[in-house]
Symmetry: C2
Subunit: 268 residues, 2 copies
């Protein structure tokens, strides 16, 4: 997408190639890539080795990376980049007390996410016991089509946006319940749109089910979703729908009101 010829921003004088490449290097580090050599980074990013080296050394110089006998790792300072977003955006801290309230009542985890391309990104999370194999935190990304929050967010896209999403989509079968074709997904989204909530049962991971509702701004546009996720062996689909869903809806109602009260023009 960013490499095709139609992409002419890069040909304007406004494109900063080095910044793009530097951010690519930061993102090369992940769950599977904890510590990387210069050559590793070069391979992952497609940058030449000297370029990868220069970027890594610069990140080290700036305190965002550390090198120890040839292996580079990111430092906690990298977190402050993400925190630049959180602290410049008080929207989610408004939601926190209501999320805590929900967690106290139900004993289960509660999260808020927004759509970013084909992924949802967690922007707020209050977790109780750990139930997933991977650790979820603010900043985590998950594929939208396999999550309840993703369904809620996708269901509220415009037809054009949904079309774009569908065209950029690759299905991966996480479990045997994972949605893996467009027809199935479109049907699910239709249901979500009608009932105004979404539920996913072990489509992302065995033993994990969740339920989600949209968060709307003052003008009614959906810009985020909030969910409750629980262990499938402990919480039935019925409990999730009949007991937790009303609480979730109630919490979101309060959050919307609190956000409207702060008059945050960003989401009007």
């Amino acid at each position: 997408m960013s490499t095709n010829n139609l992409d002419n921003f890069k040909n304007t004088g406004d494109y900063n190639q080095s910044l793009d490449r530097g951010l690519q290097v930061i993102q090369a580090f992940s769950q599977n890539n904890k510590a990387l050599t210069i050559s590793d980074v070069s391979k992952i990013t497609g940058l030449s080795r000297p370029t990868a080296r220069r970027i890594l050394l610069t990140l080290e110089y700036l305190g965002f990376a550390e090198a120890s006998n040839g292996l580079f790792t990111l430092t906690a300072r990298t977190l402050s980049l993400g925190y630049a977003y959180l602290s410049s955006n008080n929207t989610w801290s408004i939601a926190h007390p209501f999320m805590r309230d929900f967690v106290e009542k139900t004993g289960e985890s509660c999260s808020i996410s927004i759509l970013d391309g084909t992924n949802i990104i967690y922007v707020a999370r209050i977790s109780t016991k750990r139930i997933m194999s991977i650790n979820l935190d603010v900043g985590s990304k998950l594929p939208a089509y396999a999550t309840s929050m993703g369904h809620v967010l996708l269901a509220n896209l415009s037809p054009e946006e949904l079309e774009t999403y569908m065209n950029n989509l690759d299905f991966e079968k996480f479990t045997d319940k994972t949605i893996h074709n467009k027809q199935e997904l479109l049907q699910t989204l239709q249901d979500v749109r009608e009932q105004n909530w979404g539920g996913v049962d072990q489509q992302l991971e065995e033993g994990l089910r969740s339920i989600a509702v949209p968060i709307r701004n003052a003008s009614g546009k959906v810009f985020a979703a909030m969910n409750c996720s629980a262990h499938a062996g402990r919480i039935s689909k019925e409990v999730l729908r009949d007991e937790f869903l009303p609480l979730l809806q109630e919490s979101v109602e309060k959050i919307s009101q609190a956000m409207a009260a702060t008059n945050n023009s960003q989401y009007v």
Copy 2:
């Protein structure tokens, strides 16, 4: 520090100026700078306006920023930069269950931070009720000298490292109890070193007190600190020290063992 003449990394061919500048722009966004114009960013960073513009447009193109009638804001995608660190470092997710356990027992918030220059950076946090005026989250920075975790981390620096820290220090008086001179700080650190825990009473903010203990790796080196913070009107200093401190020490002991068990060479 990074602008003086002795700083010769910048004169090597390994320094990538544009990346440095781009990261500066991201960090220009903060609590007080939620939405910035091109000129704002230019002033804050000291970059020329066209340069600031090129970087902002590149960030927008890459999806890390959004522009709406002249005002730029960061997007949630920025979080994924910080998450690149978290997901490439499983150290803190090991600590989470023990932190949750502590929070359940005490009902108060629990955090882990590491030292980054003169600041502590939060790398893990389980919060209960909100007690501070600013919202703390993973990625938050606070000045080390005004926090209990900061004291614990500073107390365990080598004399040379502490010397460097002291030389780069500017005291700010947050409350009338804030430590504001080197002698006082050094004395406090001496006490912390001897008792192996630190406590801060309303030095960062009125009505907030906390207590912290060091987290050591297998070879005994302190690389992080864990604390419990509470509302001063609700939890006395004595409760904090006599009831919560032992629980905190117990939790840290378990965390150290769990980390050692994973054989994480990064912290040996």
